[in-house]
Symmetry: C2
Subunit: 224 residues, 2 copies
């Protein structure tokens, strides 16, 4: 049985938020698959993982006709389709720019390997780091070799893990080398051309939502 991705849905129409949710659904299906679950309804999926059943149906309907009335979704089949929609049916090749603690941690992050991302290498300007390896065995290259390695290994995604003051120049290096997708961990705003997708991960935002929770809990406790 083959189902095509709905061709009317263009990149613009499907938001980052949808992509994020599809990624969460894939994570849930992985865990159901490990637990031996064969099929699940949108309602049961929503209840089990604290999601929204209507949103699940809406998100998946954008991409084809999954799910059988009364039975639900076939776990393995839906997993395969989600991986295809997310572009994970081929190996996605990743370079990490910056071989400090964060870069080294990301190079060995187990989640990336599980989902078929291949970490091609770390890149750094510090000559004392070049030619060494992360604990997991990822090699550190000279940043001056980045363009060459991008071509050699057909690198898809550059991860920016350098200090804030070096970030824009490293991003420029990545864009000049032909990279079209960048995941940035440096604080601050970076500029990229319109055709390049830049995703910023700001760890402070997550920490602040906890601080917000604690502040509200305190103020609720005082007013109670």
């Amino acid at each position: 049985m083959t189902r095509r991705i709905n061709p009317r849905t263009s990149s613009e129409q499907v938001s980052d938020l949808t992509a994020g949710r599809l990624s969460v659904y894939l994570r849930c299906l992985n865990s159901l698959d490990v637990a031996g679950v064969k099929a699940i309804s949108s309602k049961a999926l929503a209840e089990r993982f604290h999601l929204n059943a209507a949103q699940i149906r809406k998100d998946l309907a954008c991409f084809g006709d999954f799910g059988v009335r009364g039975v639900g979704y076939q776990v393995q089949e839906l997993k395969r389709h989600l991986r295809m929609i997310l572009g994970l049916d081929r190996t996605v090749r990743v370079a990490i720019l910056g071989a400090g603690n964060l870069g080294l941690a990301l190079a060995d992050y187990p989640g990336f390997r599980q989902e078929g991302f291949s970490i091609i290498g770390l890149f750094d300007a510090d000559p004392t780091k070049v030619d060494r390896r992360s604990r997991g065995g990822v090699q550190i290259f000279d940043i001056g070799e980045f363009r060459k390695q991008v071509r050699r290994h057909a690198i898809d995604i550059a991860v920016i893990a350098v200090p804030a003051d070096a970030a824009q120049s490293v991003v420029d290096t990545a864009v000049e080398a032909g990279i079209r997708a960048i995941l940035n961990f440096s604080p601050g705003t970076l500029k990229v051309p319109a055709e390049v997708k830049l995703k910023n991960v700001d760890l402070t935002v997550s920490m602040e939502s906890l601080s917000f929770f604690l502040a509200r809990a305190d103020s609720d406790a005082k007013s109670a």
Copy 2:
């Protein structure tokens, strides 16, 4: 001029998403303040940082009567209020559990310090790591001392940066020590009591949204 946080808005009503957006607004205001901007309208704020003007007005209206018609928001005043709403008007004390690459990277992450988070210490079970320090000078304690240190330093937030197979037992340790807010970087699902706030940061989700973008761009290019 003092403005109170609207007492009708309880923790339940204000979602994590709102907290995330407030945190983003604060980040934008910080950058405007550095650039010497004194006042800005919601429209200009939205245009400058690719946000939604109506959403900004709606989010801020939950917490009080900010902004002056025709003038906009006073940057420094709104910053101060956002910091108060987010619980950043006092020092938020953070412990990091796990002194591997990720834990060490988080301990020295500059964004945390800028926003008033204080990293009290790293905690690890590995005796060869205990009593050493991160590059930035954060001390590594024995995880067996966690409970004592939580009391001594009134630690608010625990960050989980241990391998997946150790995560639940480390979270249990944190909860038993009285921690009410946890930021988890380990893959997989963790259980906490209802009164504890757990926030999961899954780095794979960000990476997959880039993979999704690349897959869509390829398929659009082929169909064009």
